[in-house]
Symmetry: C2
Subunit: 234 residues, 2 copies
DNA sequence: GACAATTCTTATGTATGACATAATAAAAAG
DNA sequence: CTTTTTATTATGTCATACATAAGAATTGTC
């Protein structure tokens, strides 16, 4: 009985659509198709692959969904440079994401903001710093409402992301904002102890003006101290 | 003639599938559906929405593609906690991604590795450090082949990602590996000047044993100096 | 009456054919 | 030669039919 195991290849359980999808992706890779290139029309694929138009269309739908191709109505489909973030913007529904992932994402934010000091220092302009100063100047005293504070928090840190000059990172932050507010609102991590953070926004701007990438990085680390404490318990 | 402009609402050019997709996503959000919950079967959606099964199925295909739902054959579809990274693994074909995005992603790697010092220090175990020591011990002298070096580079830094205990970040790194090798191979950034990095893997392990999160962070920053120089050009 | 074997029933997967529509190309009109 | 009109074409949508496998219902056996 056992002998058969070696003779029998595992059966391919994938659906036709799965196979066609793989075939198409491999085609893109093998033929080194670049954005803008046209891909065969549905009928041609039907004939070449020997499956129904239904299957071909479903495969194409998948590729469209992940942003690899774009179809111009009545014209055909073309390769597209996928906007990675756009793709899962739709999937970014905090309510349906499991808690571990939410925590992970929250952590990644902290990691990114600490690590981006060099990019900021390399690319900051006087105008950026001025704008950041104004944002800080408009911040209310910490005694005022927390909702307002969150708003300013987003403004300040958002500007920092912009200053990295890294569009992908900016998109990333934008994408993650709903997750952050969700995490704040939920009981996922305990409510902030709201002890004054060791380094304020104001001080960070100061480091930006007169400090170095290193000092700014450490300043940011201390600024985020509250968050770290909440993540690691204590 | 001009007067009409105010009277006329802009026509909705979205396809039926677009609308159904939005409707379904809003349903998930409004009804606060959680992973595991069942969603109506195709026929029911057909009747409720007044569109053909073709349209419903194409909408569902999209949701499946971004990982929001999962369909069990002949049973129905259920809500799924989307694995965000899995989603665009398929779209991660460096050849079709535009160069700016590739650069951005490469930068994000540097940012992450510098920023993750705290996570590593918080969660490292003796075993981790031991394993890392062994990886370093097996590294060839820098005189040997570059291909080998890339391999060890991946091993070492990959282990660091693991040590963060952040699954999402690990997946992220895994996902980005093809991008890195592509960026290396391409002329996207100039070939490394291969000046000895200021801090070696060996020294990093040492910082991990005897240093602090801060010193390790700065060590990593110096270790990645080569990459930064190439990104920023002199 | 409990359990096993068999047969529906059901929901998705796949195939086929049809028609609408809009972008383009081709043909006709001036 | 330019403009207008008329095919042509490829995708979007609809309708219908059947295959298949999971689960439910039924039957059969002891």
């Amino acid at each position: 009985m056992e002998d058969f195991k070696n003779e029998l290849a595992t059966i391919d359980t994938r659906s036709l659509v799965d196979k066609v999808e793989m075939t198409l992706i491999n085609l893109l890779i093998r033929k080194e198709l670049k954005p803008g290139d046209k891909i065969p029309k549905e009928i041609e694929l039907v004939e070449a692959l020997g499956v129904s138009r239904t299957v071909v269309r479903e495969s194409l739908t998948r590729l469209k969904t992940i942003g690899l191709i774009e179809s111009v109505k009545h014209r055909g489909a073309i390769i597209k440079s996928p906007d990675l973030l756009e793709t899962f913007k739709k999937a970014m529904i905090p309510g349906v994401m499991d808690q571990t992932t939410l925590r992970d994402i929250f952590e990644m934010r902290l990691v990114l903001e600490i690590g981006m000091a060099d990019l900021i220092f390399q690319r900051k302009t006087d105008e950026d710093v001025k704008e950041l100063s104004e944002i800080v100047a408009n911040e209310p005293e910490s005694s005022e409402g927390i909702l307002f504070e969150v708003d300013h928090e987003v403004k300040f840190h958002g500007k920092l992301y912009k200053m990295t000059g890294n569009q992908t990172m900016m998109n990333f932050q934008n994408l993650l904002l709903p997750v952050f507010s969700y995490v704040y609102d939920s009981k996922l991590i305990e409510r902030p102890i709201k002890k004054r953070s060791y380094v304020s926004h104001r001080e960070l701007v100061d480091l930006l003006k007169r400090g170095t990438a290193e000092s700014f990085r450490e300043g940011m680390r201390k600024h985020l101290e509250n968050h770290f404490q909440r993540m690691f318990g204590e």
